[in-house]
C-alpha cells in the first residue's frame, strides 16, 4: 500500500465519521425549558413517528432569543418561548406561518386559545401552557391574607424583608402597572415614571428579586410572600400545603408559553408532526398533571380529577377568566423606555 493510498483512506474514514455524526445529530431539534414536558416525550415521539428528534434546553426566553436572532434560527426546528417573544420572532420574519391542516390536534384547544391577542387564529404560534401571575404565600406565617398588589409592594412591618419579586423585566414592571391600575403594556412615560417610583420604594422592603427559586424560599420560610407565576407556585404547594396562591384584586396578566416552528427549519413536516404530537390530549394532559401548569387543551384539562384541582386550586382557573386578563405584548419602540425604567429600579439604592 503506497502512501497516497493511505492518505486517501484516512480521508475517506474521516469523511465517513463526519457524515455518521451528521446523521446521528438528529433531524429535528426542539428547544424547551428544562422539565417543561414529559421526560420521555421525545423518545415516544421518535418511536411513533420514526423521526430522530432531540431536545435541547434553554434557561430563559432571552437566551434562546439572542441565539435565534444572531443565527437567523438556523439549526432549530421548534422552540418554546413566551408569547411576547413569539411575537418578536414573527415580526423579525423568523417564525413559520402555520398550516393548520398539518396540525389536526389543534382542534383540541379551547376556542379561547385560538383568539389570543398576540396571535389571533394561531397564525405563527401554538399555545402550550398559560396562566396568571399573582401572589404565592405561606398562609401559616403571614398575619393577613394578601389580596392586593400593594400587599407585596408596601408590605406590613412583619413581612418586610420577607418578600421577593420576579426579576424578569416585563413581569417586574407588570406588578407596578397592575397595582396602579394601568395596562401591562402601558407606554406613557409619565405613567412609567409613577410605576418606577412605586417599584423603587418596594425595593427597600424586598428580600431579593428571584424568578427561579422563590418557591424554595417559601418552603424554607426564608420568604413568606412572593411574586409568582401560578404554575410555579404549585411546586411550593406540592411541598407544603400551607402555601397558597392568590390573584390580587387589581388583576393579573395572562401569560402564554407557545410553540413556534422556525422558518429556517429544514424538517418542517417533522416539526408539524411534533407540535401535533404535543397537542395530543394524552401528552398535553401529562404536562398539566405533572408540571402543574394549566394547558389550553380542553380535552386534556377535562381529564383532571377533582382531587387534583382541590390540591392545586389555580389549576381550576378557566379559559374565560384567563382571557379577562391582558397579555404582555411586544411594545416595539417603547422597549427602550421599559428597559431604562428597569435599569433605574435595579440601580436605585
Amino acid at each position: 500500500m503506497n502512501r497516497k493510498n493511505a492518505i486517501r483512506r484516512t480521508m475517506l474514514g474521516a469523511g465517513l465519521a463526519c457524515c455518521a455524526s451528521a446523521l446521528m445529530a438528529g433531524e429535528l431539534v426542539v428547544s424547551n425549558w428544562d422539565g417543561y414536558m414529559a421526560p420521555d416525550a421525545i423518545d415516544s415521539f421518535n418511536a411513533t413517528s420514526g423521526h430522530a428528534a432531540e431536545l435541547v434546553l434553554h434557561g430563559t426566553n432571552e437566551e434562546i432569543m439572542g441565539k435565534l436572532i444572531a443565527s437567523k434560527g438556523k439549526g432549530y426546528d421548534v422552540v418554546f418561548v413566551s408569547s411576547p417573544f413569539a411575537e418578536v420572532l414573527h415580526n423579525l420574519g423568523l417564525a413559520e406561518d402555520l398550516d393548520h391542516a398539518k396540525i389536526p390536534n389543534i382542534s383540541n384547544l379551547y376556542a379561547q386559545a385560538t383568539e389570543l391577542e398576540h396571535d389571533p387564529g394561531n397564525a405563527f404560534s401554538v399555545p402550550y401552557a398559560w396562566g396568571t401571575t399573582g401572589l404565592c404565600y405561606r398562609s401559616d406565617l403571614v398575619s393577613d391574607t394578601p389580596d392586593s398588589w400593594m400587599d407585596l409592594l408596601t408590605p406590613s412591618e412583619d413581612l418586610s424583608g420577607k418578600t421577593t419579586m420576579l426579576a424578569t423585566d416585563r413581569w417586574l414592571l407588570a406588578a407596578g402597572q397592575l397595582a396602579k391600575g394601568y395596562s401591562v403594556n402601558e407606554t406613557d412615560p409619565d405613567k412609567l415614571a409613577e410605576v418606577r417610583d412605586l417599584l423603587i420604594d418596594a425595593k427597600g422592603t424586598l428580600l431579593a428579586y428571584d424568578d427561579t427559586t422563590f418557591y424554595a424560599k417559601l418552603v424554607s420560610g426564608e420568604a413568606e410572600l412572593v411574586h409568582a407565576w401560578d404554575g410555579w407556585c404549585n411546586y411550593g404547594i406540592a411541598e407544603n400545603a400551607d402555601i397558597k396562591y392568590v390573584i390580587p384584586e387589581e388583576g393579573s396578566d395572562l401569560w402564554v408559553d407557545t410553540m413556534v416552528i422556525l422558518k429556517s427549519s429544514e424538517n418542517k413536516d417533522a416539526a408539524y408532526e411534533f407540535v401535533n404530537f404535543i397537542l395530543d390530549p394524552a401528552n398535553h394532559g401529562w404536562a398539566a398533571e405533572n408540571i402543574l401548569y394549566k394547558v389550553p387543551n380542553e380535552t386534556a384539562m377535562s381529564g383532571l380529577s377533582e382531587d387534583f384541582i382541590a390540591q392545586f386550586p389555580n389549576m381550576g382557573i378557566g379559559p374565560d377568566e384567563l382571557l379577562g386578563y391582558e397579555q404582555l405584548r411586544d411594545v416595539g419602540e417603547a422597549q427602550r423606555d421599559y428597559s431604562r425604567t428597569v435599569s433605574e429600579i435595579k440601580a436605585a439604592n
Binding site: 445529530a25 425549558w33 428544562d34 422539565g35 432531540e54 435541547v56 444572531a70 443565527s71 438556523k74 439549526g75
Partner: protein, 263 residues
C-alpha cells in the same frame, strides 16, 4: 526566599485560605448526599442522586463535551499564548496596537464576544458544533495565558538569550533550551487558568455551540437546569469531577515519584 519565610506564618496563611476555599465545597459535597431535593433541609443520607446521575445521559454527555472543549482549547491557547508572550516581551518597541489586541479578549463583555462570534459564523455559513466553541474559547484563554506568562517574563534576564545567540544557537534552540525551562511554572499556571476558565464558561459556549445535543457543554446544561435550583444531582456531578481530579493527581504523583529520578 525559602530561607526567609516564617514557616508557621506560611502554614497559617495556607490553612485559612484553604478553609475559605473548601467550606462551600464541603457544603456542596454534603448536599449531594441529601435525600430530599431541596437544599434547604437535611432529610437524611442517601446516595440515590449518584444513581440518578448515572442514568442521566444528558448530563454525562455534557460533562464529556466540556472536558473535550477545555482540554483542546487549553492546549491551543497555551501554545499560542506562550509564543505571543515571548514575542511581545522580546520586542524592544512596545506597540500600543498589539497591547490593545492582547488585552481586548479579557475586557470585551462575554455577551458581546458571544453574539459577535455567532453572527460572524452565521454570516460565513460555518456549521456550528463543539469545534466553534473551542475556537471561541481559545480567544479569551490565550489572552489569559499570555498575561500570566508575561508577568514572569517581565523579570527575565534577556542577556542570557543574547549570550546564547552569540554562542551561535539558533532562535528555536535558545527558546527551547533556555527560555522555556525558566517559564515552565508560568506556563503551567497559565494552562491551569485557561482550563479552569473554559470548564466554567457558559455564555460564549451557549452562543457558539450548534443547536443539537452533541455540542452541549456542562455549564449550558446546568444553567438550563437552574429553573429548579441546583438539584443534588448536579452537586453529585461536581463531587465526582473533583474526586476524579484528585485521584488523577494522586496517580500522577505516584508515577512521577517512581519514574523520575530526583523527585
Amino acid at each position: 526566599m525559602r530561607t526567609q519565610a516564617n514557616p508557621r506564618l506560611m502554614l497559617m496563611i495556607l490553612s485559612a485560605v484553604f478553609a475559605f476555599l473548601y467550606i462551600p465545597i464541603s457544603v456542596l459535597v454534603g448536599l449531594s448526599f441529601n435525600e430530599g431535593g431541596l437544599p434547604t433541609a437535611w432529610t437524611g443520607f442517601s446516595t440515590k442522586w449518584y444513581g440518578e446521575l448515572a442514568r442521566n445521559s444528558d448530563v454525562m454527555g455534557a460533562a464529556f463535551n466540556t472536558l473535550i472543549v477545555a482540554l483542546v482549547s487549553t492546549v491551543l491557547a497555551t501554545i499560542l499564548g506562550t509564543l505571543l508572550a515571548i514575542g511581545v516581551e522580546i520586542r524592544r518597541r512596545k506597540g500600543r496596537f498589539i497591547e490593545t489586541i492582547i488585552f481586548a479578549p479579557m475586557i470585551i463583555p462575554d455577551i458581546v464576544l458571544a453574539i459577535a462570534l455567532l453572527s460572524f459564523f452565521s454570516l460565513l455559513d460555518v456549521t456550528l458544533g463543539l469545534h466553534t466553541v473551542i475556537l471561541s474559547h481559545v480567544v479569551f484563554n490565550l489572552a489569559f495565558v499570555c498575561s500570566v506568562v508575561r508577568a514572569r517574563l517581565k523579570t527575565f534576564d534577556w542577556s542570557v538569550v543574547e549570550a546564547s545567540a552569540d554562542l551561535g544557537a539558533s532562535t528555536p534552540v535558545t527558546l527551547w533550551r533556555i527560555v522555556l525551562p525558566v517559564m515552565l511554572p508560568a506556563i503551567i499556571a497559565g494552562a491551569l487558568l485557561a482550563f479552569t476558565l473554559s470548564v466554567d464558561e457558559f455564555i460564549i459556549a451557549f452562543f457558539t455551540a450548534g443547536a443539537g445535543r452533541d455540542s452541549i457543554t456542562l455549564p449550558m446544561q446546568i444553567f438550563a437546569m437552574i429553573r429548579f435550583g441546583v438539584t443534588p444531582e448536579i452537586n453529585a456531578l461536581a463531587t465526582i469531577v473533583m474526586a476524579v481530579s484528585v485521584i488523577a493527581l494522586a496517580l500522577s504523583q505516584r508515577l512521577n515519584r517512581g519514574g523520575l529520578p530526583g523527585q
